[in-house]
Symmetry: C2
Subunit: 577 residues, 2 copies
Amino acid sequence: MKLNKIVGDRFKERPSDCVIDSHALLVRGGYMKYVANGIFSSYTPLVRVTDKIKKIIREEMDAVDGQEVLFPVVMPATLWQESGRYDSIGSELVRFSDRNDNRLVLGMTHEEAAVHLVREFGQTYAKYPFMIYQIQTKFRDEARPRGGLIRTREFTMKDAYSFHTSQSDLEEYYKRCYDAYNRIFARAGIPEVITVQSDSGIMGGNISHEYMLLTPVGEDTIAICPECGYRANMDAAESIIENIRDKASKKITEVNTPNSTTIEEVAAFLQAPLNKTCKAVVYQKNHSDEYVILFIRGDLEANETKLTNFLHCDIHPAVITEESGITAGFIGPLNLKAKCVTLFDNSLSNTNNMICGANKKDYHLTGFDIERDLGKVIYGDFAKITEGGICPNCKKHSITVSKGIEVGNIFQLGDKYTKAMNMTYLDNEGNAQYPIMGCYGIGVGRLAASVCEASHDAYGPIWPISIAPWEVHICCVRSDTPEVKQFADELYQNLLKKNIEVIYDDRQISAGVMFSDADLIGAPIRVIVSPRNLKENIVEITARDKSFALKTPLTEAEQTVIEKVTELKKEIFDKLK
Amino acid sequence: MKLNKIVGDRFKERPSDCVIDSHALLVRGGYMKYVANGIFSSYTPLVRVTDKIKKIIREEMDAVDGQEVLFPVVMPATLWQESGRYDSIGSELVRFSDRNDNRLVLGMTHEEAAVHLVREFGQTYAKYPFMIYQIQTKFRDEARPRGGLIRTREFTMKDAYSFHTSQSDLEEYYKRCYDAYNRIFARAGIPEVITVQSDSGIMGGNISHEYMLLTPVGEDTIAICPECGYRANMDAAESIIENIRDKASKKITEVNTPNSTTIEEVAAFLQAPLNKTCKAVVYQKNHSDEYVILFIRGDLEANETKLTNFLHCDIHPAVITEESGITAGFIGPLNLKAKCVTLFDNSLSNTNNMICGANKKDYHLTGFDIERDLGKVIYGDFAKITEGGICPNCKKHSITVSKGIEVGNIFQLGDKYTKAMNMTYLDNEGNAQYPIMGCYGIGVGRLAASVCEASHDAYGPIWPISIAPWEVHICCVRSDTPEVKQFADELYQNLLKKNIEVIYDDRQISAGVMFSDADLIGAPIRVIVSPRNLKENIVEITARDKSFALKTPLTEAEQTVIEKVTELKKEIFDKLK
């Protein structure tokens, strides 16, 4: 394709609304355009990238016996009522009515549609196992879309659903998908993606993994143990706290702590370490506004996902009213009058000589001994694991915390959906059973942006050849020079004939602008044809990632480009082994 | 692929809710499943068919310099307010609110999104012309989805938008797209598709064509003149009426017509031909419920599209209330007291001695002379053209009327959208101009169903090889016979190695069930391996369309299949020339 034909503008300035590099570069490079919050249109270069990603995904899904199907974007509410999710999912599920007042939803995931599609087919054990997948547009009304294509409201996703007659069969298949996913990310150019144990959240089921690209701009937090290889999403990583009791418990004493409303202020005022304090974190349930107070050691942070899973409902940070009976800034477990759900993190178990709120303005208690003063309470794991914390696997103080982008996930769903939607099969003894499901997702646009995030410089994306919009970029510098133009034209045509994907820039513009555009388009191989090069009887063939820079005789130019394309493609597959 | 692995059931009985054959066969063959009114899921065989259609479309769109882009399914209402269509389109446009009460719509077409995407890019004449297209899910809340995939609410569509600096440039490009569309339909296996002039409806613009597959089950009506080649959608075909006045006009006379409320009853009662009557057809405007009364010759039918275009608003058949002042069954143009819009079809111009309603229960008038009795009124073309009617082109009484399915359409839009959305470019003299647009649509699922409608028998679809889910179907009859199984297995593997798309049935079932399934899957070439054939040292290689039936020696089986695949593919392309 000729570059002067590409619809879309490329420009130099970083757009002010782009926080992360991949977003800025994909906007600057004419890949995407903002339409509304979390909604974008794609230009041809991005369509070419995502088409290649889809092709890789299809090949790997077909290789694990997947069958491509297509579910609707718009589904009847009745289908989601069958699973119970019409009511249990919050406002990220878009609900609306059609012209006949039938309630509909926009698909944000398709477990219900998958069960619906195979409910009759899967009535006998002989049909199992099977896996169906689709690549389809989804819409999730995210509260906070961010990072360009990293978290959008509308997105293209590959979602797969497998059906099994036993947990062991699911696990065997799960392992195949696990490997297929690693192949997909490696083929897309990010073999460095790691798997972490994840929280299953609204999907149901227990065992699940996320595929994470570690990057400081990621919005997921991951606990990694370099000692034993344990890796988990913060939401799924158990926080283990070894509490050491002081030998003697002091007397409980009310102390005046004027104007000290945060636990840090209180600790500083009373000259105590944070881990000798007990702080309160207050939420409200989304559906009822009921208050939920979590008591947790002052040096730790609450993990909302763990709370949500425990409560089986969504929560939000509380708005504390006067009528609530809650004394904001001075909340403590003793003499708490407010009507609320009270939870205690494991970090408070067995503690003494703690500082906590006195439920009275400007007062805290010291010498709080939770078991002596409160009696038996039930503790739970509601804290975030911390850097240097205890590894849930090897128990060493070895946890490191990193940020990552979730580029894919796989879940063992169990029979949550088949049971709720009454899908059964007859086993080989003629008994009705619920099939066991797995599900497997990859966001196509997010994967494209993640590769860009993992592989770029200040000037543009550095696309791996497997998903680059074009493989080769020919820059014809001074195309007003007939010999230069003629050589570049011929090279372009000859490479096209050899099925090389070429973008050809023969505009009469400065070499600077030409190279800037080439950087933004990010083809892995660049060929520079110029009067100076021609005088030396060479072309320059360089790698976008700077791994090579050749001066190749004109007569060998075509062959060298073809060899380099082949070589780069082979490198991708070599990393799979 | 092995047939016993395909997810989805095939069955014999025609589903009672399927009116047309393609719908029944696609359900019976395990291609699609009903999810909600006008909403379906697709199984793998249909995904394979539509993927091939998409590939053909992409190749032909790229060949006319199209660039594939992707617009969102969900768009902000503001975008549609810019064009004015947020208010002008009726309830087929789905509108809803997101979590922040922003109004959104589901894309049913993407002119607004197209202008939005290129508004900055297209600011100077040097960038023109260009064409962008997408293949994307759309949703249109149809009042009456029907015919399976023929008219759905959710559908996958290729929609293309071209931008030009002059009408002549648009026309030149329009011609290229016109030809590209003919190639697409021919390559998809229905070269018999014809183009007809169409009504532009809500799309704006003037010149447009529809591509029609003529079939009695089509929902569009087409006027064709075999004499001169004129072809138009009924909605766009001018109805020309030659009225002949009786020599003398009789006196106007009120006659008692008890219980005669339809024009047929009145004509029969008064023993007059229908073309000597003037009937009233009553509508109401959708937005205001204002009455619209059309007077038209009794033997003709009103065309609602022509009325809608004239009135610039949607209408529906009227509910006549007592307060309206309309005397249902006896409405006439004289002494009409009701407050309403009154329109006259050309068919009444210059008529005399007509029968019309007297606006009085149980009475009609005879001897009505429209010009004598009513004075000057304005006439318009509001009637449907009729079989044997006058051709608007060659003026012969030669019109034939056929039914068809609209498989694609192309429109010259003019500057309707660019003007409304203020997209301008600077021409070569530095003046701001509005670009001129064309748009070009094909419904992918409807095309698949249309090919099935055009090419099937009672037992299943007869897919053209270009879009068949598989090219070759191997039936291994009596797969419990080791030699049979071994030969069939090897043939299957060898054909796969040669990149032939094979579906392989090695189930231990009766030949009857096996052949029924093969008919439903509709692969163009069938290979039957059986004990009896093996005894004769042959396989049977037959065409689904019965065009050949070979008994081929075992040693030549593979080669013959490959040759037949090549031959059938070549036949498709031969029809392009």
